[in-house]
Every structure is written in structure tokens, then in C-alpha cells.
Symmetry: C2
């Protein structure tokens, strides 16, 4: 018996077609050729994807459960994505709903180097949620971004990250930005006494990203933002392995709408995301409360002994939602408010950030009553 992944696909099809469609997906995501042309019995039994179940969800929607061989993947992140969804992503009537991975695979990838407890430690956040904001808009120069970073740090935030759109643009080259913003955060941190962390956004090729991590390290930084689906999942995984001193916040850009965001968050955790950003319910993306709770559970819950990854809901959030969000997510969360803080006039920015910090610090988490 070879080790297998159990993968569920949501498929739109007619009842008469679904069996053939399910089988076609099983073949596409494994050997990708007619089974009649395969004469090696062990490939047919051990490598070809196997349809395990087809559940009719009504109205032409089916859940198709397929077992894929772990041997086709090994421990390469890009190849895992390739075998889970690669060619099938081209079909507009199939979504990738969920996957159960064998435990050897979980330990082979290794998960976060620091995770929830490591990030808490970096910013001294015990028994409370963590706070985060973003540097933007796109188009500001390094000096202006640095001023924002200074004010946000003066407010006592835990993390300040680059907007995921900040790359290595001529109006704000990475090297200038990281120096100015790191210095601003350092300076303000000395005044507040709070160890605010600045997380610059990595972009470009793997080589570019290693150079950027080097620059960040020179500035005393130890957290970075990365978009695994732009970097290439294997490159993210390699960065995590080769730079264990850094914690990584994963950004969901280009994850698309046809892979379950719960699964994507789990995959990012698997590849090494210490925190995983996702669009919060009630913001400008259409995620439901249920989806967001499931994402948080997928990042925090038991996962083959891997460290927990911090859920970081974001996207169109405002300060006055802090109590509601903390009631919803509990204390194991990093609330990310970007535009909602930056909408304040510059001279009020530190005070607004401070209000956010206090709202989080003062929150009384609902607990189960004990007798």
C-alpha cells in the first residue's frame, strides 16, 4: 500500500457525465495519458489517481474524492500544487476543495519555523491578539513610507508590513525603502519601548529575494512578507529552509478563486508561513464568516505536529470592528488594518494606531465558564 493524498474536487456536471469527469480528473492529475496505454501494473495500482467517492450535492454540483499517490510529489511545494490542481485548474467547472496529506509529507515540508508562538515572542504579545498595519499607497517614495512607518510604530503596533504591491519600483527601490523604514521603526521603537517589527515585501526572482533578505537582515529585521504564488511555492519553501532566522507573512495574491482559501492557507502553513493573510468577512472580498473561521482553524489546528500559523484577516477592515473581530477569532490572531488607519490625517496617525493597539490590549475575550 503506497502513501496517498485524499483530494476533494467540486465539479459541475450532469449526472450522466460525472463518473467520466471524475475519472478524467484522476488521470489528468496523475499519469495524464490513456490508461489503456499503460502496461506496467504497478503504475496502474500505485500511481494512477483513484476515484474514491462521488457525492451528489444537487443542482449539478458534485464532490469528487480522488486519491493521488504521494510518490508523484515527494517534498517539492511546486510539484504538490501541480499534482493537486495544475492542468485541472484550466477547467472552469472544477474547484479544488480540500486535501488530506499523509503525515510523512507534513513532516517533510516542515511548516513554519516560528509560527504563532515565535511571532508572539518577537513582539512580546502574551494572551492577546497581535496588531499589524501596512505601508501604502503605491507611488510614495521611501522617505514618505518611512514617515508612515514612524507614526504607526509610535502608536505601538506589533507589525508593520509593506503593501504587497510594493516591489522594487523606481519611486521606491527596495534597498532605499528597507533602510529608511527600518530606521524609522527602530527610532520610534526606542521611544515607545515596544519591539515593533517591520516586514518588507519580497519580490522578483529567488536570487532577488535572497538579496532582499540580506539587506533586511543588515537592518536588523527578522520578518518579511512574501506572496507564495508569485514567488513560486518551491521558492518560498526554499527561502524558509535557507533563512530560518526570518519569519514569513504569506500574502494570498494570485491564489485565484477556484482553490478553497482554507486549503490555500493550510498549504501556506505547510510551506512555512508563520502568519497567513486572508480577506476578512465583511470587507471588500466576498468571504463568509464561516470561511474565515475555517481558514483560522486550518492555520491553528492540529496539522501533523507543525507549528501553528497566525491567521491574519485583512482587507477593508476598520478600527471600530476590533471588538467584533476579537470576539470572532479569539486571541490567536493578527488583525491587519491598513487603509482604515491610513485614512487618518498624518498628524493623527500615531494616535489612531494607538487606539487600535489599546482596543486589542483591552479586549475581554469571551471564555468558556468553568464551574
Amino acid at each position: 500500500m503506497t502513501s496517498r493524498l485524499t483530494v476533494v474536487y467540486g465539479v459541475r456536471a450532469s449526472a450522466s457525465e460525472i463518473k467520466a469527469r471524475a475519472q478524467a480528473i484522476a488521470v489528468e492529475q496523475s499519469v495524464e495519458m490513456p490508461l489503456s496505454a499503460i502496461h506496467d501494473g504497478s503504475i496502474l495500482s500505485d500511481i494512477v489517481g483513484q476515484v474514491r467517492a462521488i457525492d451528489d450535492r444537487g443542482n449539478g454540483a458534485f464532490d469528487v474524492t480522488i486519491d493521488l499517490a504521494a510518490a508523484t510529489i515527494g517534498s517539492d511545494a511546486g510539484q504538490l500544487i501541480n499534482m493537486l490542481f495544475g492542468n485541472t485548474s484550466l477547467h472552469d467547472d472544477v474547484v479544488l476543495s480540500s486535501a488530506i496529506l499523509p503525515s510523512e509529507m507534513l513532516s517533510a515540508f516542515g511548516g513554519p519555523s516560528h509560527g504563532l508562538s515565535g511571532l508572539r515572542e518577537r513582539v512580546g504579545a502574551k494572551g492577546r491578539a497581535m496588531t499589524c498595519s501596512a505601508l501604502k499607497p503605491q507611488g510614495l517614495g521611501a522617505e514618505d513610507l518611512g514617515k508612515l512607518a514612524f507614526e504607526l510604530t509610535m502608536g505601538g503596533l506589533d507589525f508593520i508590513k509593506d503593501d504587497h504591491g510594493l516591489a522594487d519600483q523606481s519611486y521606491s527601490p527596495f534597498v532605499d525603502r528597507v533602510r529608511v523604514c527600518a530606521a524609522a521603526v527602530r527610532k520610534a521603537s526606542e521611544r515607545t519601548g515596544h519591539p515593533t517589527r517591520y516586514a518588507p515585501s519580497l519580490s522578483g526572482s529567488y536570487t532577488d529575494m535572497e538579496r532582499q533578505l540580506g539587506l533586511a537582515r543588515e537592518e536588523g529585521l527578522d520578518v518579511a512578507l512574501i506572496a507564495p504564488m508569485l514567488a513560486g511555492p518551491s521558492n518560498f519553501s526554499a527561502l524558509r529552509r535557507n533563512h530560518p532566522d526570518f519569519a514569513f507573512l504569506a500574502h494570498p495574491t494570485m491564489t485565484g478563486a477556484r482553490v478553497s482559501p482554507v486549503l490555500f492557507a493550510q498549504l501556506f502553513r505547510l510551506f512555512g508561513a508563520d502568519a497567513s493573510i486572508f480577506p476578512n468577512y465583511g470587507g471588500r472580498f466576498g468571504y463568509s464568516l464561516l470561511t474565515c473561521k475555517a481558514i483560522a482553524a486550518g492555520l491553528l489546528g492540529s496539522f501533523g505536529g507543525l507549528a501553528a500559523s497566525v491567521p491574519a484577516p485583512a482587507g477593508g477592515m476598520s478600527l471600530d470592528r476590533t471588538p467584533e473581530l476579537l470576539d470572532c477569532y479569539g486571541e490567536d490572531v493578527m488583525l491587519l488594518i491598513g487603509g482604515g488607519l491610513l485614512s487618518a490625517p498624518r498628524e493623527r496617525l500615531a494616535a489612531e494606531a494607538g487606539r487600535f493597539v489599546r482596543a486589542v490590549a483591552d479586549h475581554c475575550y469571551p471564555r468558556l465558564s468553568t464551574p
Copy 2:
């Protein structure tokens, strides 16, 4: 006036919502924060995405044309994808339909190093289409893949590529596979006198891919298969720049169904794909004839002076469709038949490949009559 990209999104919305949706996409794909919080006039005028047109296509479908600032992208491939579709890819009611890029951007990326004419030269294919097949299934060891490569080369094919699912698996490690298959192709090539090229599939991190290219180079190879959306577009771009002796066949795995395949093929050409594989019409993917013709035109047509990239239709194709496909695509094409050839018994494989080669060589292309 700053340099801009003109991007068209297909959006599903009600007539009353579409204006706000269009504006939201323009903001999301540029500054990603409330415009009321931006006080810098030059960011509002030069950086924020601008909605240029909203065309009602009926039944709740709209084409939204948005201009994005080229300055937010520079010449980084990952950042181009990020600004074209990044966060908006998370919305399931938006597709990325097309993009017109400024000419400076086209020259900055540079396109294919070899392209159509370079690939033709490598295999001595003048005035005819090129032929390609794939090594599979997943699960075969290096020795067995080498035997297939030998037989396919004996048939006189131009290109033999690894299946895009072949990575660095324990049953067929890259280093073994590339040595055995390169040797098999070399040996058979000496017999046929035809310079068949073997293109191994690159996988893993950028560092892994560079090592793989090094191994391939040691074996005298000069063509490789890459999946840009798994590698990370910036890494593909960097490999192309740093390894100009190699030609790259691009594979569409993980390009998803919500970016126009025509645009994706053009982006792959932009980043440096010498040939671009796409699912052929009438195969096992749902692409129409019209879509496939548009992909081919996007790869071959005028594009800021960039070399043409070879259209390589594939996916569930059979030998007997060769005349139809050549009538459709003309001679500037690489026909890729994988499973359709491999379905032949091993002892007939070289003969089947030979039939494919002859069908392509003997084809009489329809030409416009001249007086």
C-alpha cells in the same frame, strides 16, 4: 503623461453596481486603499488605476477597461502578474481578458531568446511544422523513459519533452532521467541523422532549476520545459536571462481558468517562452477553435519587435488529426502528440512517431492563390 497599461476585465455585475465594481478593481490593482486617504496629487493622477470604459455585453456581463501605471511594475514578471490580477484573482466574478502593454515594457522584458526561428534552426525544420511528443506516464523509472525517448527519436521527431508531471521523484530522479534520456536521444539521433532535441522538465526552486539546467547542459541539451506559474514568473524570466543558450518550452499548468489563455500565452512569450504549450481545441480541455487561433496569433503576431514564440497545441491529440491541425495552424506550429503516440505498443512506437513525422513533412499547406 506617464506610461500606462490598458487592461480589460470581464466582470459579472448588475447594471447598478458595475460603476462601483469597476472603480474598486482600479483601486485594488493599484493603490489598494481609499482614495480619500491619498493626499498626494501625483499619486492620484499618475499611479491610481483609471477606469477608461465600461461596455455592457448583456446578461450581467461587462467589459471594464482600466489603465494601470507602468511605474508600479517596472520590468519584474511577478509584479506584472500581481498588478494585472493579484488580489482581483480572489473575486470569482472577474476574469482578466486582455492587456496592452507599453512598448518600453515589451523591450524591458525582452521576449524569447530564440523563438520560432531559433527552434526551427535547432531541428532543421524549414517551411514545415515541428513535431513533439512527451515522455510519460508518471511512475516510470529513468531506464523505461529512456527506452521511450529512444523509440520516439528513431521515428524522427523534432522535440521530445518530459511530461510536466515529471519532477524529481524517487522513482525517476532528474539527474538519472536526464542522463539516460539524453543518451538515448543522442544514440538514436546518430542513427537517424535528425537532430532531435530532448527537453527535460524543470522543477523545484530557482536554485534547483539552475542545477538542473547545468546537468542538462553537461548532456549537451539546449531546450527545457518550464511551468512559469509554478516556477514563479520572475524566476522564469531570470532563468531566460541567465541561460541564453537554452530555449524554453512553457507549460500552462496552474494558469487557471480566469485569465484569458490568449493573454497568458502572450505573457509567457513576453517573459521568454520560445514555444508555448496550450490545450488544443477538440481535445480534453474545452478551448474553442477561435481561442486556439487567437493564442497562435498572440504568439506569432507583431509584439513590439519580440521574437515569435511557437504555438504548441496539445492535450488529447491524435495522429489522424495532423492534416486538419496543419490546415488550421499553418506551418508555424509545433504539434505535440503525447498519449496518442504512446498508446502504440512499444515495438510500434518508432513507426508511429515516423508516421507523425511524415504526415507533417508531406502536408500541403493551403496557400493564398497568387495571379
